[in-house]
Symmetry: C2
Subunit: 249 residues, 2 copies
C-alpha cells in the first residue's frame, strides 16, 4: 500500500510520501514514491506515485527519457501545469496498456499519481492523475490531494488545511496525517519523504527523508499524541460530570 | 454506510453509533443502529449493527421474539457473553441464508454486529460478529472494536483508548472518532447515539441521542478543532525555523 499527499497553501506546495511497497504481506520493500524534475528559474515538478510499481517506474523512466532525448513533448517544454498533467496521464495509460498486452493473469496494473509544481509565472498547482489517464486539480475549497491509503489521515487535513495556513504548519500537518496512517496501517511505512516548495522560487525546495529513528520525526509523533490527550481533556464535560451548584442555603 | 464503535475500559463499556442508512446516494434514511436488551440486576446487552438493513432488522426482531416466546435459547437465559455472541452469530447467518434463498439478483445481504455487555459477575466484554457468523472479542491491547466505515475514526482510538482511561474520557473520544468520520464521509450521519455502561451496574446505563444542533455535540466538535490547531502549534519547528544561536562574540 501507499500513502501520498499534497497540500496547496498560499506560501507554496507540500509533498509527502511513504516508502513501503509490498507484493503480498511477505514481500515488503522500500521504494521512493517521490520524483522531482526541476529546471531552476523556469519550472519545478514533484510527482508522487501509488499503485503497480512496474507501472509507476515505467512512467517515471519514460518522463526522464523524453527529457533526455528532447522529445517533441516533455516536462521541460510544456507550457502549463494542465498540459503537464495531461501528458503524464497519457503516458500512464500507455504504460498500463503495454503491460496488459503481455498479461496472462488478469493483473491489476493501475497507478495513480499526484503531479504538483509551478511553471514560470503560473500559479502553483497540483493534479491527481487517475489510472484512466484523466485528472482533477485541487481548489481553494479542497486544497489537498491524497492517493493510496487516504482515509486514516484525512480527518486532520479536513479540519486544518486551508490556503492561509503557513507553509511549515501545512508541512507539519502533512507529517501528522502520514504518522497517523502509518500507526493504523502497517503497509504504509518509513522513510517519510517531505518536500516543501515555496511559491515563485522555481527551485527544488526543502527536502527531508525521515526514518522512525529521526529525532525530529519521533518528537513530532510524541508531541502530537500529547496534544491530542490535551485536546481531549479540553472537551466539554457531560452534564452529570458538572452538576449545577446547589442553591444557596 | 455506517460507523459504530465500542470501547472497553476498566470503568465500563462505551457504545456509539451513527444513524444514516442509504440504498444508493439518492435514498437516505435515519434508522437507529443501537439495540439494547436489559434484565436489570442480572444482565445488560447492547447490539450495534452495520450492513444490509433487512438482515439487521431481521436479527434484532428474532432476538426479541426468542425472548418474548421464551425459546430454548435467548439473550436472557444464556450463561455467558461468549455464548450470547455465538447465538447472535448463528441467527445472523440464518437470516442471511433465508434472504439468499429468495434472491434473484446476487444481492449482498451481509451484516456485521458488535455485541457488548455484562452477565451477572462476568467481566464486561465486547464481541465483533462477522457476516460469516463467527466472532472475535476485544483485548487489553486492542480495547476498541469498530464496524462499517472504520478508517477515518481509527487514528484517534489507536492513540488514546486504553483500559485506564476514564469512562467519560473514553465516551468523548468515541464522539470525536464519530465526529471526524461524519465530516469525512457524508454516508455516516446524525443523530449520534451514545451509551455508557458502568461495570457491574447491570442496568441500562446513560444514553444520549445527539443531533448536529445539540449544543453539547456542537461545542465538542468546535473545541476538538481548536484543540487540534493548538496541538499542531505545539509541534517541534523545522531546523530552519529555529536557527541555532550565533556563537558568543
Amino acid at each position: 500500500m501507499t500513502y501520498c499527499l499534497t497540500a496547496h497553501v498560499t506560501g507554496g506546495l507540500i509533498f509527502c510520501s511513504d516508502s513501503r511497497t509490498n507484493a503480498g504481506t511477505d514481500n515488503v520493500s522500500i521504494y521512493s514514491k517521490m520524483h522531482t524534475f526541476c529546471w531552476p528559474g523556469d519550472r519545478f515538478f514533484c510527482l508522487l506515485s501509488a499503485g503497480n510499481l512496474a507501472t509507476t517506474q515505467g512512467v517515471v523512466k519514460r518522463l526522464q527519457q523524453d527529457m533526455d532525448q528532447n522529445a517533441a513533448i516533455h516536462l521541460l517544454n510544456l507550457p502549463s501545469m494542465a498540459e503537464a498533467a495531461d501528458y503524464v496521464g497519457l503516458i500512464n495509460a500507455e504504460i498500463q496498456r503495454n503491460q496488459v498486452s503481455r498479461d496472462t493473469a488478469n493483473t491489476n496494473f493501475e497507478a495513480t499519481f499526484i503531479l504538483g509544481g509551478q511553471i514560470a509565472a503560473e500559479i502553483p498547482a497540483t493534479y491527481m492523475i487517475y489510472p484512466q489517464g484523466n485528472y482533477i486539480h485541487e481548489s481553494a475549497d479542497h486544497p489537498f490531494l491524497q492517493i493510496g491509503e487516504i482515509k486514516y489521515g484525512k480527518p486532520i487535513l479536513d479540519r486544518v488545511i486551508s490556503p492561509e495556513l503557513s507553509l511549515e504548519a501545512a508541512a507539519r500537518c502533512a507529517l501528522v496525517s502520514m504518522n497517523s496512517t502509518m500507526r493504523s496501517n502497517v503497509t504504509v511505512g518509513p522513510p517519510v519523504e517531505l518536500l516543501i516548495y515555496e511559491t515563485n522560487s522555481l527551485q527544488m525546495g526543502r527536502y527531508l527523508s525521515l526514518t522512525e529513528e529521526d529525532r525530529f520525526y519521533r518528537t513530532l509523533g510524541e508531541r502530537w499524541s500529547q496534544g491530542l490527550l490535551r485536546a481531549l481533556d479540553d472537551l466539554p464535560p457531560f452534564s452529570w460530570e458538572n452538576p449545577p451548584l446547589a442553591p444557596p442555603a
